[in-house]
Amino acid sequence: MAGRIIGLIIILLGLPLMVSATSSATALYNKGNSLYAEDSFDGAITAYQEARATGLDNAALEYNLGNAYLKNDQLAGAILAYARAQRLSPRDPDIKFNLDFAKSRIRGEVPQVPKSLPAKILDTVAEQTTLNELSLLMSLGWFVLFAGLFMRVLFRSSGARNIAATAIFVGIMIMVLVLPFVSSKAKREVFTETAVIMEQTVDAHSGPGENNAKLFVLYEGMQVIITGREAEWSEVSIPGGLTGWIPRKRAESI
């Protein structure tokens, strides 16, 4: 229910940006579903991708696409789709389950970097919320703060002043507490480009070119962070600090 309300507010406030789901995209989605049920996964993939091509970003669509890819033995496509679905709907347990399932099939070990407790908290919250939800929370703090200031300016009575002081305090506290999560989430989704390796094995070189030494190997489905670009090559890094260059088309961004 809360989700619906938030969704409604988002729709109202984000009006200039909204691309309404055309009926053809919905039809393609449903068509993909029926193809999937018949086990024709290739056809389902095509239908879902056509729906996506209309510019639509929808969690259920991406999730179903991920399932179709996985059934069709395309691990990287599946992980890419599930990751996109998770960004749109972070608390959906089915998406999480299937993404974990797909990740367990990655051939190589992804280095696990031990994280400090604050980093873990930031990550947990970031994974459970969308950027819009956090933005709304910030806005709430903002409005409460100004409501308090407003009251403080206009009213003289001690009762009103107390309420005003509380409101100001609460407003500031909300914003201060939410700010790290908003910036962490923004950093993850907006300022950092994450990509998925699309081919079975990809060699990472020390520089943008085949003649550079091979440093390490990346496997299909692994998620990397893109830290630079040059000509046809991308510089990528994985947790643990390893950085190398791979041909750009071998990894696709989430």
């Binding site: 969704g7 988002i10 729709i11 406030l13 984000g14 009006l15 200039p16 940006l17 909204m18 691309v19 309404s20 789901a21 995209a25 919905t26 989605y29 449903n30 579903n33 029926s34 999937y36 729906a51 510019g55 639509l56 970003d57 929808n58 969690a59 259920a60 669509l61 999730y63 179903n64 399932n67 179709a68 996985l70 033995d73 749109l88 709907s89 089915d94 389950f97 299937n98 974990d100 399932f101 990740k103 367990s104 099939r105 051939r107 190589g108 070990e109 950027l131 819009n132 933005s135 709304l136 806005s139 903002w142 409005f143 100004f146 409501a147 200031l149 407003f150 300016v153 206009l154 907006v190």
Partner: protein, 594 residues
């Protein structure tokens, strides 16, 4: 007495003189490091020329060493100059050293003749050197020279793709310092796999063909010829250093090292093509001897649970030709692409490889199934024919498992890569059909409407602050408050006066009118209404720079009221209305002067 001194002096001089003379003598020497050689062996001849008369133009004729020897290499001539103080005089001495490496070519005795040079006006000669070159009487293979780099193969003739082991050994007599690989052999006719490389030289004593030497293992490789015909294992080149023959001492007294290079001879291998007849249909190019096994982690499994199958191929052959086996599984088995693991080890001097394909299988229906045997074809060079081997048939019993809507066993997690992967459930099913799938992207902070909304409370706050200030100013600044309301106050009085016209009470009317005028003026200029006299009004008007036009109607009106109240005042209605109008006009005029 004196005579004794002379004798002593004479003796001393006699003793010293030879030394002095000696330092002044020119010397020409030829030395060889060995005088007895076997045919093919090498020796080093060092020729030294030294003395005070030696200069850069000093040279001699080299004798003809043929047919016994040929000159392999020459180092030097290197020059050294010594300065000496003897008996108060400074003398210098130069020495030139040249070294020749000679290779023996013919057996027999041979004398290196003496060489002559003229120095300081006198000829000096080297001593002749007698050499003996012996022939070896056995047919045994001997290293043609030392140090020698030898390449060995375990087979001279193989089939395409069959494993050959090539090893390199270095044969030497004296020490080898700073041994390094200079260039690796070109092996384009083969696929290669490194087997062993020596980290330290651990020589073994050997004697062959009458020569004692030491043999050290360098490296070995497994080679698989790529095509039929002649395949060449090209030279390996190594470098080592030996003490220099010509420069004996360095700056700190240590010997100079000279770097030398030695190459192995190229080897040619005869490669036979694989026979065309008898070739099985599923042959993919593997040559060698192989075995294949299948391993199941369990014979009994529940439907929808996973099972691990390993297909292991082991053998002496090029493992790259072993491809993913064709698994004819029953239809109801879901199979995921395998994980491939490779390893190799050296067994009995040859490279043995192991390749394991690890499959995860999920049976969907219950029943008893058999995994048919897996066949694998290769060419066995030991038997000179193609062989097909297969694994054993395996039976799997699938018992009814959980239905899909039962909760899964919570054992999901990142799978470890060494152990077997355990998954409790398959994928969760897709999301159902919908009437409408909305776009869920679109970031709030990218929308102008959203961000603009945040400006609203700020604007409201500024407005509130402004309004509050105004309120306070009104409260605190009385004069300001009065100033603001002066017109209203005046108007209220005049309206009341207007009503009093009707009541036919001229005194009340004029009183009210006057009240209105003075109240207005008092408020307007923040004066006390009570003692407001005409003089004060005039004074204030002057002080505030109010023009005549604006203030005189006001004063006139006021005078008129005065007169009417305290003297000749008629109850004339028209007169009253006129006065009222005058009053309104007067106030308006004053208002204009703000």
């Amino acid at each position: 007495m004196h005579a004794k001194a002379y004798i002593v002096a004479g003796l001393l001089l006699a003793l010293l003189l030879p030394g002095a003379l000696y330092a002044q003598t020119n010397r020409f020497t030829a030395e060889i490091d060995r005088t007895r050689l076997y045919l093919g062996e090498r020796a080093v001849l060092t020729i030294t020329l030294s003395g005070p008369d030696v200069n850069s133009k000093s040279s001699w004729d080299l004798p003809d060493f043929k047919p016994a020897f040929s000159i392999v290499s020459q180092s030097g001539p290197s020059r050294q100059t010594n300065m000496q103080y003897a008996n108060g005089k400074m003398t210098s001495q130069t020495s030139i050293t040249t070294a020749y490496e000679l290779q023996s070519r013919k057996e027999g005795t041979f004398t290196i003749p003496s060489m002559q040079i003229v120095l300081g006006g006198r000829p000096i000669r080297t001593n002749p050197i007698q050499m003996a070159i012996l022939k070896v009487d056995t047919d045994e293979w001997r290293p043609p020279y030392l140090p020698y780099l030898q390449a060995r193969v375990d087979k001279q003739e193989v089939y395409v793709g069959e494993q050959i082991v090539a090893s390199w050994y270095v044969l030497f007599q004296r020490g080898l310092n700073h041994l390094q690989f200079q260039s690796l052999p070109v092996l384009t006719d083969f696929t290669t796999a490194d087997m062993d490389t020596a980290r330290r030289l651990m020589p073994v004593e050997r004697e062959q063909g009458g020569i004692k030497y030491r043999e050290g293992f360098l490296a070995s490789m497994a080679l698989f010829p790529v095509r039929s015909g002649k395949a060449v294992i090209d030279s390996l080149m190594i470098s080592y250093s030996v003490p220099s023959e010509t420069k004996k001492r360095g700056l700190f007294g240590d010997a100079f090292q000279e770097q030398k290079i030695v190459k192995s001879d190229p080897l040619t291998i005869n490669v036979l093509p694989l026979p065309a007849q008898g070739r099985p249909a599923d042959f993919t190019g593997a040559v060698g001897t192989f075995e294949v096994f299948t391993k199941l982690d369990s014979r009994e499994v529940k439907a929808h649970d996973s099972l691990n199958l390993q297909v292991i191929v082991r053998g002496f052959g090029n493992m790259d030709y072993i491809q993913e086996p064709n698994l004819p599984f029953p239809e109801s088995f879901e199979i995921y692409p395998p994980e491939v693991e490779e390893a190799s080890q050296i067994k009995a001097g040859r490279l043995e490889g192991v390749k394991a394909f690890k499959y995860i299988i999920v049976p969907r229906e219950d029943g008893v199934f058999s995994l048919p045997p897996l066949s694998f074809s290769f060419f066995d060079p030991e038997l000179d024919k193609y062989r097909t081997i297969s694994s054993k048939r395996q039976m799997i019993k699938v018992i009814p498992g959980r239905k899909r809507d039962e909760p899964p066993i919570a054992r999901i997690g990142p799978a470890s890569k060494e152990e077997v992967t355990i998954l409790a459930e398959d994928l969760r099913y897709i999301k159902p059909d919908a009437d409408d799938i909305p776009d869920q992207s679109g970031r709030l902070f990218e929308s102008w409407a959203f961000m603009g909304l945040h400006g609203l409370p700020l604007a409201l706050l500024i407005g509130a602050v402004g309004w509050k200030r105004r309120l306070e100013k009104l409260e605190q600044d009385v004069g300001y408050a009065r100033f603001k309301r002066a017109f209203k106050v005046g108007k209220t009085h005049l309206d009341r006066a207007a009503k009093k016209i009707n009541k036919d009470d001229p005194a009340a009317f004029y009183s009210e009118l006057q009240q209105g005028l003075s109240h207005y003026f008092a408020d307007r200029f923040n004066l006390a209404q009570a003692g407001l006299t005409r003089e004060i009004i005039e004074k204030t008007a002057r002080e505030c720079d109010i023009q005549e036009d604006y203030i005189s109607p006001f004063l006139e009106c006021l005078d008129g009221c005065d007169m009417a109240r305290f003297g000749a005042g008629t109850g004339d209605r028209a007169a009253m209305e006129r006065t009222l109008e005058q009053a309104r006009h007067a106030i308006q005029q004053l208002e204009r002067s703000r």
